[in-house]
Amino acid sequence: MKSWNRFKNSYLLYSFKRDPVAILSFCVLSILVIISILAPVITPYNTYDSATFDIMDAETPPAWMEGGSKSFLLGTDIQGRDLLSTMIYGLRVSLLIGVGAVLFQALVGILVGLLSGYLGGKLDALLMRIADIQFSIPYLIVAIFTSAIFKLAFGVGRYAELAVPLLIIIIGMSEWPKYARTVRASVLGEKNKEYVEAARVIGISRWHIMYRHVLPNTLTPVLVISTIQVAEAVMSEAALSFLGLGMPITKPSLGSLIRAGFEYIFSGSWWITFFPGALLVIFILVILLLGDWLRDVLNPKLYKG
């Protein structure tokens, strides 16, 4: 109750209420997230069960167009699956991988940043050199290479089975340096402050200071970049799936749906590409807008342009 009151009077909520763009994106994002979590309950068809769809229904246009069917609101894809249901399941997969990858990279990045910032010395030099070197290669190239190597190593079938955890690891590993650098920078700012010194004077152990005292004070910038990172991870996943290095078409994410639909665009079946594409853009856009807003509110000093 007390923390709720604190939240109610906070600057965060105040500026949120005054920003129509933030409110709108937050609403859209919440709706999308709720829909994708409730996917098995609200979708008219279960697209993972091949008994529920019929290849004869393939490439049915949306319901309002000529030749459309009332039972498929947005039409069907190339395998005869209801496009709306497939998209909702796809959004679920994209969201799962996006959030999973960010949690993974945050875990790795925070650990590395904390260790190298707080302990310093040789370890710091080594870890930061590694981060620098990886940072100098675009993350998308790293992700594409790693997924290609994994695909060859596991074989196509096995890769398709393990796609979700593998993609989380691949995308996570390709972006951890951003977290490591951010956390290290704020640890360096915090560790010479008086409260750390005081904690050291009363004899608290190094690890305890690191986790209980320094870490919480470095989390604001982490929160700020996390929102943007989710958008970036969703984009990476879509790109990998579009290249055929991500989710298989039997369990499609939005990216693999677009890839499948693209082959049929020349025959005029635009809806298989258009609707998943539009959903993907809206999803990324609202996360980016929220991220921008959050950055401006929590970190006004960073704001530029």
Binding site: A125, P138, I141, A148, L152, F242, L245, T273, V281
Partner: protein
Amino acid sequence: MFAFIVRRIIQAILVMLVIGLVGFVIQHQIGDPIRDLVGERVTPAEREVIRDQLGLNDPFYVQYFRFVKNACQGDLGLSFFYKKPALKVIVSKAPATIELVIVTALILIIISIPAGIYSAIYPKSWFSRIVMAASTIGVAIPVFLTAIALIYLFGVELNWLPSYGRGETVNIWGWESGFFTWDGLKHLILPSVSLSSIMLPLFIRLVRAEMMEVLETEYIKFAWAKGLHRERVWYIHAFKNTLLPVITVFGVQLGILFAFTILTETVFQWQGMGFMFLEAVERSDTSLLVAYLVVVGVIFVVVNTVVDIVYGFVNPMVRIAGTK
């Protein structure tokens, strides 16, 4: 300064050795050099003989050393699919990618600088508002969606522009160029426009932000006070100082542009290095894949090292920070 250069070069070599090790392990563990050489129809006993002759039963470090030695001499193995040295295949595909990147860079410069400057000078005009809104949305659109939309609009519906392949090319001293035929240029339009769409929002915002910052500085105020013509203040005095950070970022972004060519080339069936790489993955052409990894690694390491050393010359803080 000399010590700084030596340190950077040693680091570059170390990184290359690590990339080489990754490539070597892939080739060793996933690929099968015997299959690459003789195909599937050879008995296991004969395979074992070839294995011995090729030294594939040697200890790991001996083979790694041999791999590095060969790589230094430009021998990155044979491509299983093309039946040619992998490096040769990559070099033959490079012009397509390089031309795509050149045209994209030109489009970026031609659009982002005027648009950025205009929206910095007149931030409240309707044109600037549209540009800023468009660049916010533009960041959220993946490059392959832009490409598909362009193909659908100009390739399928209007049928104005070709949507796949490079078209007619001319061979100039071994360089397959699409710059000199009408057909080749027409094929370049859609891929380069969609590739530039991924960077345009960033560059317009960057030019605008830098220009706005420069316009607030003292020396611009002084230029106004001198009563200079406003075109002169904007385009000569302010613009010059906008350019430096823009060029720096441009250099960094070129590498990222290179990553996005893989996506663009796939959509447009553009016969460049990125398309070749994905084909190699699909065909399990391990040697070609490893060769591509090494080549891209060399490009990035060399570019980064050169940039760092140039920075070291220009800005002493970089080389002092490095000694810590």
